[in-house]
Amino acid sequence: MFTLREIKELIRTLDASSLTHIELEREGERLVLKKDHPSASIVPAGSYTGGSTAPTYSSVPSPVPSAPQLAEGSVPSGDQTQPEAPQKTVSASPAEDQITLIKSPMVGTFYAAPNPDAPPYVNVGDTVKPDTVVCIIEAMKLFNEIVADVEGTIVDILVQNGTLVEYGQPLFKVRTTS
């Protein structure tokens, strides 16, 4: 399996390069990384589409490990003939499907940090594991550490420090890795 660290390293490599596409296969698992524009390009004014310049990636486990037909399918020359179609699918619905919301399990005050002088538990771009503490919700002096319960990368923090949150209110957007 590709580790989170390896994937992050590859994203960084892809980001820094002029490539728009990296495809890797190992032990029956295929990893595809794509971005819409080369790094040098600038997002056109007024057409910001929620991180379209950021690389999107998907880890596709093969149903049959190391099957020969999969190895054939990953030959790069086949993809180059029709670049439009796969890019569209990656940047539209599947990308949204990978976003998970961490919701508040209780009514209370949202605290991003353990105390006013401390740095926040998580920032946008941080990776979290299911047991990573992402914030505290305080209700009547019960300070409850909320854990991510998912593995992924924080892409958005939806509430401000010190504000009241309702039961079920989304707190974080996480791009999940599984």
Partner: protein, 329 residues
């Protein structure tokens, strides 16, 4: 006053001198057997009473006595305090208890220290906890309740703390949601840190600080008008109304009351405890200011609802508040 309380009061008064069983029996107008029974009961409560041939009884090391393992072996609880860790000095009992909870400490496990160098209050504010002057402890709770009712734990715990002080004759008031007051000053405070697992409470660590033996000088200057110890309350009352407990005595009673109240809450519901909280409420029906997050609201404190939320009648509306702190005035 029971014979036991009278014997205790007499020993306290005469400490560190001896008083014979005969003299005690005569002054209280009871039999020698009754005195003997009272002494035995007091010892069981954790009092360090020395019995010496031809001298009688005396109370030892009353004011600054260390908590010992001995006290825990005499506990009359089912689970609370059966697992415990006792320290002379720690940074914070809360941190030790949290680490222990993560290692699997059972429900009711207790961490006590004579002194905390970094005792924590709300949001990591410092809690003054000098050596031997108070009770500083953390209790691990695993009530297995949904997170949606976990906020009631501070209120339930506050009722238990109040009841343990009442055992010794004090008349505490509960400041919503988690402080315990005596004559408008804070005698005990609580901090509860929980960890959720999906929508259930995995565990909570209840930190309790009770000021027992401090003099006004022992408190940081900023707290002097707002804090009180049991000893100060005892002295200010002219020592007439209350029995000043030793710290081990108070700890034993506190753990018993906590176990009772928390299991009552687990087995029944908060609605059963609502009245117990309300009849001890501080500033009930008075105008208060409540700060919540960045907001401040003024209104009349109507009480709490069946969930434990505070009800505040402002000029415009009746507010239900889930979070916040009543300001001192």
């Amino acid at each position: 006053m029971t014979v036991k309380d009278q014997v205790y009061a007499r020993l306290l008064e005469l400490s560190p001198r001896y008083v014979s069983g005969e003299a005690l029996a005569a002054s209280l107008g009871v039999s020698r057997t009754a005195i003997w029974k009272a002494i035995r009961a007091l010892k069981e409560e954790g009092l360090n009473i020395e019995a010496r041939h031809r001298h009688g009884y005396r109370l030892l090391e009353h004011d600054n006595r260390l908590l010992s393992e001995d006290h825990f072996t005499r506990l009359r609880t089912q689970v609370f305090g059966k697992a415990y860790r006792l320290y002379t000095e720690v940074e914070s009992t809360q941190d030790i208890a949290k680490a222990w909870a993560n290692e699997g400490a059972p429900h009711g496990a207790v961490v006590v220290s004579e002194r905390q160098t970094k005792g924590r209050g709300r949001l990591s504010r410092n809690w003054s906890s000098p050596s031997g002057k108070g009770l500083w402890l953390s209790v691990i709770l695993r009530p297995g309740c949904p997170l949606s009712v976990a906020h009631q734990l501070p209120l339930v715990s506050a009722v238990a703390v109040a009841r343990s002080l009442e055992h010794f004759g004090f008349g505490p008031r509960l400041k919503w949601p988690n402080d315990v007051m005596i004559v408008d000053r804070k005698v005990a405070g609580m901090l509860i840190e929980g960890q959720g697992e999906l929508d259930r409470l995995k565990y909570a660590v209840l930190g309790i600080g009770i000021n027992v033996l401090q003099s006004a000088d022992d408190f940081p200057e900023a707290l002097r008008t707002r804090a009180i110890s049991l000893k100060m309350a005892h002295e200010e009352s002219g020592e007439r109304f209350y029995t000043l407990p030793t710290r081990p005595q108070l700890l034993m009673v506190l753990l018993e009351r906590l176990e009772e109240e928390i299991s009552r809450w687990e087995n029944e519901s908060f609605a059963m405890l609502q009245d117990d909280w309300l009849k001890r409420a501080w500033r009930l029906h008075e105008l208060i200011e409540l700060s919540s997050g960045r907001e401040r609201v003024r209104g009349r404190f109507i009480g709490i609802d069946a969930h434990g939320y505070a009800l505040l009648q402002t000029e415009e509306e009746l507010l239900t508040l889930t979070s916040g702190e009543i300001a001192f005035q």
